[in-house]
């Protein structure tokens, strides 16, 4: 037994109550209000149309005569929609400006790069660069109650970054950097999902955003800045050997582990501290790590990591223990 029971935070991905209508921050709250507003508008208009239709079909002759002429078209078909639409347009446009405002100076910046089919995460340094930046994958940690700027980019095809409870979605387009601001008002784990079809297992490209109180966040960030600790027990040490012998380092970075400098896959320096593996689809523990390594293609068909079916039980035990220990 190596770590306390953790929950995969299934609630982060729960579909009920609908996350798009359950805001957890100031960039999502006005969207929820807007949503209910437009639903109400639609309900009212639909009722008016149905009422007019019922009257036209089954109404008394004198009432029918009142609406059976061009006045109905002018009033109900043109004037009324113009009023409703103008109001909605003003609401929508003011919200557009409010939600696309410039980041404040000194705001924390995270660069998230969409890749087939996972997310590369870099916590940018104060200059906005990646030099010395903490690297991670498929999980973004943010301090509670502070707006965070996301620089959204793509390494291959178009993806779309969406954490419904925190704010709007925004595409990640090769050659461009899109800016999205999000903020979580409560500590917790928020599920996200790639929303733009990106081929293959697009359906299984999730992520989590974990909001932590500022002091915990700072402590966590300091830990993340460290290189990976050397294995402390024999099993993990054997795991490091397995990791190196099987060439895992050709695709994965583990800072502090010799030879582990590949950039094709997620940075694993602190993989043990993450909530999920496989891009937000599995809880992270020794068991799932072993299962993923041995048969990632069975779990997420078409992803870029091969199934390591040749590892023996002992090797699997060891490498899972090693990775789980990379906290």
């Amino acid at each position: 037994m190596t770590s306390p029971p953790i929950s995969m935070s299934t609630e982060a991905f729960a579909g009920w109550p609908p996350p798009a209508l359950t805001s957890a921050g100031p960039f999502a709250a006005p969207l929820v209000t807007l949503s209910w507003g437009v639903f109400a508008m639609a309900a009212v208009v639909l009722l008016i149309v149905i009422a007019a239709l019922v009257l036209a079909l089954f109404g008394r002759e004198d009432l029918k005569a009142k609406i059976g002429n061009q006045r109905l078209i002018w009033y109900a078909g043109l004037a009324f929609p113009v009023v409703v639409l103008s109001a909605l347009l003003i609401w929508g446009l003011s919200l557009t400006s409010a939600l696309t405002g410039e980041p404040e100076p000194g705001e924390m910046r995270v660069r998230v790069t969409g890749e087939m089919w996972w997310w590369r995460v870099a916590y940018l340094n104060p200059e906005g660069g990646e030099a010395g930046a903490v690297q991670s994958a498929n999980e973004v940690r943010i301090p509670v109650g502070e707006p965070v700027t996301f620089e959204l980019e793509s390494a291959d095809v178009i993806h779309s970054f969406w954490v419904p409870r925190l704010g709007p979605k925004l595409d990640m387009i090769p050659g461009r950097t899109n800016i999205l601001r999000l903020q979580a008002d409560e500590a917790g784990t928020y599920g996200g999902q790639c929303a733009e079809y990106c081929g293959g297992p697009h359906a299984l490209m999730g992520l989590v955003v974990v909001a932590m109180p500022r002091d915990e966040f700072d402590a966590w960030m300091a830990e993340q800045g460290e290189a990976a600790a050397a294995p402390t027990d024999a099993l993990a040490a054997q795991g490091l050997e397995v990791f190196q012998d099987n060439g895992c380092g050709a695709c994965h970075v583990v800072r502090g582990a010799p030879g582990a400098s590949g950039l094709a896959g997620p940075d694993l320096t602190h993989v043990g501290s993450r909530r999920t593996i496989g891009a937000g689809i599995l809880p992270n523990n020794r068991g799932t790590l072993a299962g993923w390594i041995a048969d990632s293609q069975g779990i997420k068909p078409g992803n870029r990591m091969p199934s390591y079916t040749t590892l023996s039980g002992d090797e699997l035990q060891a490498v899972a223990a090693y990775l789980d220990g990379l906290e």
């Binding site: 770590s3 029971p5 599995l282 523990n285 799932t288 299962g291 069975g298 035990q317």
Partner: protein, 123 residues
């Protein structure tokens, strides 16, 4: 695979065959466990990434054996008797309970393991 393992497999196969013939006479149970909670915990820790488990649609792992009909099996792991008092520690920390097992220790408490065992014996 060592001799014990092979024997265990044969016995398991026999047990399964016997079970299918003899009905539920040899099924096991963990009355003190909560099978519903067991299923939820298995989902939360992701047992499915290695095992196909009845009631869990996704994932249905192919790394370890499928876990259907556990109540009728004679042996678990490399030849341990299939009893709650062996299964529960096995679920929590297989390498200790059964050296040589490929199953890593799982982050669950004894109570949670009990619930899981209750579920597995029921399905």
């Amino acid at each position: 695979m060592n001799g014990t393992g092979a024997t265990g497999m044969v016995l398991m196969a026999l047990a399964l065959a016997a079970c299918s013939g003899a009905g539920e006479t040899r099924t096991r149970a963990v009355p003190s466990g909560d099978p519903e909670r067991g299923l939820r915990i298995m989902n939360e820790v992701g047992c499915g990434s290695c095992h196909a488990i009845p009631g869990i649609d996704w994932p249905q792992g192919r790394v370890g054996p499928p876990l259907s009909g556990m109540g009728g099996r004679a042996l678990i792991g490399s030849g341990l008797p299939n009893r709650p008092e062996t299964l529960i520690p096995y679920l929590m920390n297989a390498p200790v309970a059964d050296p040589g097992s490929a199953m890593p220790p799982m982050p669950i408490s004894e109570e949670e393991a009990r619930d899981i065992a209750a579920y597995l014996y029921e399905h």
